[in-house]
């Protein structure tokens, strides 16, 4: 039929389950020798441009218990605000920065950790600059569809104040759930799935 829209439905999500590490970080869970390295463990190398930072934190369930089986992926621009992606049309990103990381939470403490750089500013759809931010994707047992959120930086007060995405948050009391405190070296970004401090999650 000529006028059919020919669209398909997206494959429905299913939980990553308790054994997501076998598939995504096998070396982390003692399945050695299948892959040389777990993907996403190294975002930077010695030549990466920009301010080195560590991003760490925990993901808490509705009782405030840290989730020890959670897996997080992040995606961010380089120091100049360019993404290392074929869809980036504004220029070439730093070849020594992948922009993508994957971290399984520590099985005892629930801490996740990324060694990365502080991202530059990226334009919003209308050209206004967004504040420096890192996109997060969170999966675990009990999460039926991966959760999307963003981390912003507490020491970017002026940029945060004009960020068009943060501006969209109606209940201003929730804005701090997206802002990581840090000392320029280490930033802590805790994620709360429920409760008073529930993180703002996105439908992107």
């Amino acid at each position: 039929m000529v006028q059919s829209l020919d669209t398909l439905k997206e494959t429905p999500s299913q939980t990553a389950g308790p054994y997501v590490h076998i598939g995504l970080t096998p070396n982390f869970c003692d399945i050695a020798g299948v892959y040389q390295n777990d993907l996403g463990t190294a975002m930077v190398n010695d030549n990466t441009l920009g301010q080195r930072i560590t991003v760490t934190g925990q993901v808490f369930d509705g009782t405030g218990t840290p989730m020890k089986d959670v897996l997080i992926e992040i995606w961010q621009a380089d120091a100049a605000g360019l993404y290392n992606s074929p869809s980036e049309m504004r220029g070439s990103a730093d070849p020594n920065f992948t922009g993508w990381g994957r971290s399984a939470a520590d099985g005892t403490t629930g801490d996740y950790r990324f060694e990365t750089i502080k991202p530059g500013r990226v334009p919003f759809r209308d050209g206004r600059k967004m504040a420096p931010h890192i996109s997060f994707w969170i999966v675990a047992r009990g999460i039926n569809l991966g959760l999307n959120t963003r981390m912003y930086f507490a020491d970017e007060t002026a940029a945060n104040a004009e960020d068009p995405v943060l501006a969209r948050i109606e209940h201003r009391i929730r804005v701090p759930t997206l802002i990581a405190e840090g000392d320029g070296k280490t930033y802590r970004f805790d994620i709360h799935l429920q409760g008073e401090k529930e993180t703002v999650f996105f439908d992107i």
Binding site: A16, I31, S85, R125
Partner: protein, 249 residues
């Protein structure tokens, strides 16, 4: 990067996700979701560059046995125990176009239903020759294939007597971070599909059927391995014809 260089870059934002086709966050029949489901409304955001872009994985990351779970953990000359199968299919987007260069990562229990994981407590034995992970990258036509053994069903602590049907977990990377997807593949004709609380988190029966791979008799290799076909659909992008141009674009 070189794998992608001849393609027209994709700069459109993704179609809004049809969340009624996916399981909702809060599904009390799957008990773990009760305390792990956000309760407040999500903030809707038409894709910015942060969601439209995504990392690329070249074929150079792949080892020779990455798509052969029968051999990638096995001792030399040995192989995993179980029903030998090939799983193959295409990765498409919602506009039915192939998604080349997509990274697929799979994991599964062994033929007895046992995972190689320290938190696994099922009494079925480990297979010393089976690790349970593999990966592949789709070709220019969006196709992928891997070889494995059919995983066994296994019990899990949810209700008193809940079992997972045989399944393979899939993680999929398309071309944009907003396409990121994890799902599970089931096997045609398995009566346990309709008893599983995790599958029942999906409200629409037609959506569940999208996760059931049919036996592909035509691609079965005689005296060797049966084939199952599993196509995966990722979110599609709007055409950028009349879009406001992103700065510098």
């Amino acid at each position: 990067m070189s794998d992608m260089s001849n393609r027209k870059p994709e700069t459109g934002a993704f179609f809004p996700r049809d969340r009624s086709w996916h399981p909702p966050a809060y599904t009390p029949g799957y008990k773990t979701s009760v305390l792990r489901s956000p309760q407040k409304a999500l903030l809707s955001l038409d894709g910015t560059l942060s969601e439209i872009t995504g990392p690329v994985f070249g074929h150079s990351i792949l080892g020779e046995l990455d798509n052969d779970l029968i051999h990638n953990f096995a001792r030399a000359g040995e192989s995993a125990i179980g029903e030998r199968i090939i799983v193959h299919g295409r990765v498409l987007d919602e506009r039915a176009r192939p998604v080349p260069g997509a990274l697929l990562e799979f994991w599964q229990a062994n033929a007895g239903g046992r995972y190689r994981h320290k938190k696994e407590s099922y009494l079925a034995p480990l297979d010393p020759n089976f690790g349970g992970c593999g990966r592949a990258i789709t070709g220019e036509d969006g196709t992928y294939a891997f070889r494995t053994v059919k995983p066994g069903p296994y019990p899990w602590p949810n209700g008193v007597n809940d079992w997972r049907p045989a399944h393979i977990h899939f993680s999929v990377f398309g071309h944009g971070f907003a396409q990121r997807l994890i799902t599970q593949m089931y096997f045609e004709g398995d009566p346990m599909i309709w008893k599983c609380p995790i599958i029942a988190t999906i409200p629409d029966r037609a959506a569940i059927e999208q996760l059931i791979a049919p036996l592909d008799w035509g691609n079965t290799i005689p005296m060797d391995a049966r084939a199952y076909k599993f196509d995966i659909v990722l979110r599609g992008r709007r055409s950028t014809l009349f879009e406001n141009r992103l700065e510098g674009n």
